[in-house]
């Protein structure tokens, strides 16, 4: 029985991820099934009391986001009704667009966010705030574009080289801020943010110098297109039925997230990173070199942002645009924190973010709701999901009087 369940778990997990990435959003049901089996197996090993307690905790932790999203829907609906838009139709469009109709866009939006979210999460684990992820993303994009425009090898043999070099360059971009942090104590919030601004400003020059030959193109603000053999494989070619724009970068992101989880929780490096992040002094007594660990974490963080940009260039855009304005680095911060810096949580947080973005666009388009209203509703949803103490607080305010009265009677 146990073996059968384990087998089913693995099959459902893999099948679910594949289907899910192939724009069949209900593939997530299979993933949930796999997780459910995992949970059942965990529980069956525990004794009854522990299991009940664990289940109760789980129920509680799910309760708050659930109430949060309902409250957000209510408040957002009131705003819309107040400003003259039909909330039911708008919400229908938001969820239908984000989860069903444009599910592939949600995935495309989530892919770079998974990488940048992981990057920030790894840095956070080491006690550092990699606020300059945007800059490393740009460096990765630029190096990937530069390499992919110039050379190509048949059947995408060159792609791993691009990933490696772009990732390493973005990692190298973190060396100076990290050295400054270790040697002089210059705060990484300042240095990485300044480095991010420098990279984004430089990208304008880069784009101008790498394309838009005015004789052949009217668009000097776009680099030349990269060779087709350097494109990431569309998912369609391995899973028929996938949307043609979704590429294997999605699967790469999921794999990398699992790998980072493994790195953080199952390896010596990960242990050191977490130890330094938790308490530098304690880490030192264990003989951990905190400077070296910080450097390792920041290099990993930079590498992840670099491959985020590379995935975007090779998989989706096939060239680099001036003024990308996507903010994947900045949004990655919220994604990482939304996930509580847990690598697996980052996947879900990034997808939630992607759904809100894609669904928001669908809602704006089909119901002609102004984008400002969509942004406000997005903000409220995120706020209320996170505000788990909101319900304690309300409960406290609501029931304080009653409890006091009861206490009075008892006395």
């Amino acid at each position: 029985m146990d073996k059968f369940l384990s087998g089913l778990k693995v099959a459902a997990g893999i099948g679910g991820v594949v289907l899910w990435a192939a724009s069949q959003f209900w593939g997530i049901l299979l993933v949930l099934l796999a997780l459910g089996i995992q949970m059942y197996q965990n529980f069956s090993r525990m004794d009854r009391e522990d299991a009940v307690k664990k289940l109760k905790d789980l129920g509680m932790s799910a309760f708050y986001p659930a109430v949060g999203i309902l409250a957000a829907i209510l408040i957002g609906g009131l705003i819309m009704a107040f400003t003259g838009y039909d909330p039911i139709r708008a919400y229908g469009a938001l969820f239908y667009g984000g989860l069903v109709k444009n599910w592939h866009i949600s995935l495309l939006n989530a892919t770079p966010l998974i990488f940048t979210g992981l990057s920030i999460a790894v840095a956070f684990k080491a006690g550092l705030f990699n606020i300059g992820a945007e800059g490393q993303y740009y460096v990765g994009s630029m190096i990937a574009t530069w390499l992919a425009i110039r050379f190509s090898l048949p059947v995408g043999l060159y792609i791993p080289v691009i990933f490696l070099l772009a990732g390493l360059s973005a990692a190298a971009y973190n060396i100076i801020p990290t050295l400054l942090k270790i040697r002089t104590g210059a705060h990484e919030v300042v240095t990485t943010m300044m480095f991010a601004h420098i990279a984004t400003k430089y990208s304008t020059i880069f784009v101008r110098n790498n394309g838009g030959d005015p004789a052949t193109s009217k668009h000097a603000y776009v680099t030349d297109a990269i060779g087709e053999s350097n494109w990431l494989l569309p998912l369609k070619s391995i899973i028929p039925g996938a949307n043609y724009r979704v590429h294997i970068g999605v699967l790469l992101a999921l794999t990398v997230a699992v790998f980072i989880w493994y790195l953080l929780y199952k390896t010596r490096i990960g242990y050191e990173i977490r130890a330094v992040g938790a308490n530098k002094t304690a880490a030192k007594t264990q003989g951990i070199n905190s400077g070296r660990t910080i450097m390792t974490a920041m290099l990993i963080a930079g590498f992840l942002c670099g491959i985020s940009g590379t995935t975007q260039v090779l998989g989706l855009e096939h060239k680099m645009y001036e003024n990308l304005n996507a903010g994947y680095g900045w949004n990655g911060i919220s994604v990482a924190l939304l996930a509580g810096n847990d690598p697996i949580g980052v996947i879900f947080a990034a997808i939630l973010w992607g759904i809100l973005d894609a669904g928001g666009q669908y809602m704006a388009r089909t119901t002609q709701t102004p984008s400002a209203v969509v942004e406000i509703i997005k903000g409220i949803i995120l706020f209320l999901i996170l505000a788990k103490y909101l319900y304690f607080w309300f409960g406290h305010k609501l029931f304080k009087g009653r409890r006091k009265a009861a206490r009075g009677e008892a006395a």
């Binding site: 984000g98 603000y221 973005d357």
Partner: protein
Amino acid sequence: MKKALLLLLVLSLGLSAVFASGGTETKKEAKLIAAMATDVGGLGDGSFNDGSYAGLQKAEADGIAEARVVESKQMTDYVPNLTGLAEDGANVVFAVGFLMADAIIEAAQNNPETKYAGIDIWVDPTTAPSNVLGISFNEHEAGYLAGIVAGYMTKEYASKSDRLNGDNVIGVVLGMDIPPCERYEVGFTAGARSVNPNVKVLQAVAGDFADQAKGKELTLAMIQQGADIVFQVAGLTGMGVIAAAQEEGTLAIGVDVDQYAAAPEAVLTSAMKGITEATYQTIQSVADGSFKGATNVSLGIKENAVGIAPYHNFDSIIPQAVKDAVNKAVADIKSGKITVPATRAEL
């Protein structure tokens, strides 16, 4: 937390099932539907996006078409927006901004029945599908006319207004160093030099289209260098240029639309491009069936699509000789006697 997020996803799945009925697309047959997708700049840029939307609204007011708009948030939104607007029943879809150059081709291939027009987009006529039209503007020609006015007023007729000084210096503030801005700047410089060969044209780039303070500080620096007329090609950053001119008692030249209303005493004129008109006419051409795709139109003075705004308060101050020179330049450009340079390399 991750389990909580997971449950959240499940919950939203359930909700999507409940609300899915509300999200179905409705197709209206009765009237022409004209739709547009903005680039990530969104409405309120005071330029391409606002101008196109005004054209759609005008068509709606005239009863030609129903207007729809969607503001894209990121690059990944372009294709689904352009495709989706067609799926929702739009007959003509405008893609506004060069960033959508690839997306418009992709969307047009997906929806061969729908007409697509790209504002500030150049399509390759040899490969583009027959339902795509690329529309661009000869901003340099409008800049040229504004340059003539500025070139005369800064030196020869400097005594006409106390907002002008004797120094032979004018300036241009760019939002970012991108082709539409460059075309305005180059045309302006060429126009000023055509009537005032020794004029010094200062140039600076703010690096942002929304930072008023930068625009103002750059203008103040130019004024300190002796500039008395500053041409803003910087979107909302340019509001700072106008503010500086208003405060320091100098002049500004507006861009894209007639910006007279922003500061009536300080806006000399505006270099305009008829995005609104071009959008409106494209909708008309779809309505009467004369729409022709797989080609590019480059709208300039010849098509009456670019030009300069009325002089308003300065009508009595600007001498007839200047107005004549502007009119002559218009005629010469129309007849092909003058070719206005469009890039710094040609200048």
